[in-house]
């Protein structure tokens, strides 16, 4: 079996008394689309944030492209990496947030070029040309000079996806990308994500859009109380769930 792009092994995370992640292990192969489903508070978002190191796991390990994230093993102990090293590791992942988090003082184009120019040190010209290409890909070439406040939620989220892609990540993380959108705007964001999945991008998507999961996901993981209850091919987990908890969640959602 080939090495998975992402390997999560026995990752636990507590916030005080609350157990957000309970010995979670999973693999994501390159090119795979994995959807995380479950009730709010089940740990899906925390898992994504651990992979992007916005949150650090209490125990366990996460490997991305064969590299251990956030810590280094030396003399039988784990030592935290410096902020600079973590920032470098983060470049391999792109993150799309539920609330978009576009930079409001920058135009759509500037939002996208900010990372390539400031962090990766690429020339402004190159970055702009590529940002325009990305804006075209998400269908917003005409909005390059618009500020986020002048864009609808769906447009903002598509710019946010372009911003993450501009860093040329090997893994894209989506944290409930359509939950903050008006219902009529959900489709345009999902369409961009489907196109991205077809292009072969490895994606981990926390979502409540089961239709999207059924259509696009290779693997669906159902989480409850910080633990993985059931995972497998989308058709199986969503169509013929084996676990009682998965069944009751799905019947409550549909």
């Amino acid at each position: 079996m080939t090495r998975p792009l992402v390997a999560v092994r026995s990752v636990s995370k507590n916030f005080g008394e609350f157990c957000a992640l309970d010995r979670v292990s999973l693999d994501v192969r390159a090119g795979e689309v994995l959807c995380l489903i479950g009730a709010s508070g089940s740990g899906k978002t925390t898992l994504l944030r651990c992979i992007n190191q916005l949150t650090s796991a209490d125990s366990g390990g996460i490997w991305l492209d064969g590299e251990l994230l956030g810590v280094r093993e030396e003399g039988g102990r784990l030592h935290r990496l410096t902020e600079r090293q973590i920032a470098r590791q983060r470049l391999k992942t792109g993150m799309v947030f539920q609330r978009f988090n576009l930079f409001p003082h920058k135009t759509a184009l500037e939002n996208i070029t900010e990372g390539p120019v400031q962090v990766q040190g690429r020339s402004k010209q190159d970055a702009r040309a590529e940002a325009m290409e990305l804006l075209g890909r998400v269908g917003l070439a005409a909005k390059a000079d618009a500020y986020p406040s002048q864009l609808s939620g769906g447009q903002q989220q598509r710019v946010a996806i372009a911003r993450a892609l501009a860093m040329k990540p090997m893994l894209m993380l989506f944290d409930e990308p359509t939950s903050a959108l008006d219902p009529e705007l959900v489709g345009e964001v999902l369409a961009v994500m489907k196109e991205l999945a077809r292009s072969g991008m490895t994606m981990m998507v926390v979502t409540h859009e089961l239709g999207f999961a059924r259509e696009v996901a290779d693997t669906v993981v159902y989480m409850d109380h910080g633990a993985i209850v059931e995972s497998g091919p989308a058709a199986e987990v969503l169509g013929k769930p084996r676990e009682v908890r998965t069944q009751s969640f799905l019947s409550a959602v549909i």
Binding site: N52, L54, E83, R84, A87, R88, R90, L91, T93, G94, M95, F97, R99, N101, L102, F103, P104, H105, K106, T107, E114, G115, Q118, V119, Q120, Y147, P148, S149, A160, R163, A164, M167
Partner: protein, 285 residues
């Protein structure tokens, strides 16, 4: 075509009827009363013991104009020092490093907790504590020569301003959504770069109105430097009235110039606010 719904009788159509202007008697009455009071005050000043010819003569006297320039130079430099210190201290205060955070809190506590005029006197009289100051082995000088009125005033006003500005800056940074910092991190930015590129520019929008306030305060606070012989506007006015005893006339001259400077600053602040409002949705007024 859809039939109009049947409406109940007895409610006439008022859509064509004009609305009459209100009389506002209270406004006229209040305006009249205030005019009477103002006229009385004006009369009192005209008939009072003020030699208005002195006011007009000294309004553009060389010493007074130099005083204004010194006031403005000091206000701008001390404010610049205050903003630099304020940003650094605010970042320290919000740092996860407990040593930096407590040093920052201690600085704010110390310089906000003592009167500005006392701090100015302390800086000016530093020579009493340290006759010579310098870096051992590299450079040293007599404190009396170094702590000129100018430097004492700059340090006193600037460091005091830094304590206030740091709180303004901290409020500005806290007003920026935490998601902005996470988004900056997610595209690989370190803490300082995220602050400089993402957080501070957004904080500026919130911070400019209170900073404008602080700067206006600073223009007037420079007058305290008159006690340590810095030749600013009030000090110049005092020097003249010590000689000619026209106390009120020269205080009016100084007051006029302070008022004029502050009046010019207000529209400048609006220009700055517009500059930093880029991308902000127009808020309904």
């Amino acid at each position: 075509m859809r039939a109009a719904p049947t409406l109940a009788e007895g409610f006439p159509d008022l859509s064509g009827v004009t609305v009459a202007r209100q009389a506002h008697w209270g406004r006229w009455l209040a305006a009249a009363a205030i005019l009477v009071v103002l006229a009385a005050i004006g009369r009192a000043f005209v008939n009072g013991q003020i030699e208005w010819s002195y006011v007009s003569r000294f309004l553009t006297a060389k010493v007074i104009l130099e005083g204004i320039i010194n006031t403005m130079v000091m206000a701008v430099l001390a404010m610049a020092l205050g903003i630099v210190l304020g940003v650094i201290v605010a970042i320290m205060r919000l740092s996860s490093n407990p040593v930096l955070a407590s040093v920052a809190a201690g600085y704010t506590w110390l310089f906000r907790g003592t009167p500005l005029i006392l701090q100015l006197l302390l800086w000016f009289n530093l020579a009493l504590v340290f006759p010579t100051i310098g870096i051992p082995g590299l450079w040293s000088a007599r404190a009396v020569d170094v702590m000129t009125p100018f430097l004492s005033a700059l340090l006193g006003l600037g460091i005091n301003q830094g304590a206030y500005t740091s709180e303004v800056m901290r409020a500005g940074m806290l007003s920026v959504d935490a998601g902005q910092y996470e988004a900056a991190q997610a595209i690989g930015m370190g803490r300082l770069r995220a602050l400089r590129r993402i957080i501070l520019p957004q904080a500026m929008r919130v911070v400019i109105p209170p900073l404008g306030n602080e700067f206006i305060g600073m223009v007037k606070a420079t007058s305290l430097a008159s006690v340590i012989q810095y030749p600013e506007l009030l000090h110049s006015a005092e020097n003249i009235y010590y000689a000619n005893s026209r106390v009120i006339e020269l205080l009016i001259v100084a007051g006029f110039w302070y008022l004029l400077v502050v009046s010019i600053l207000t529209p400048l602040q609006m220009l700055l606010e517009r500059r930093f409002a880029r991308g902000a949705a127009q808020v309904a007024r």
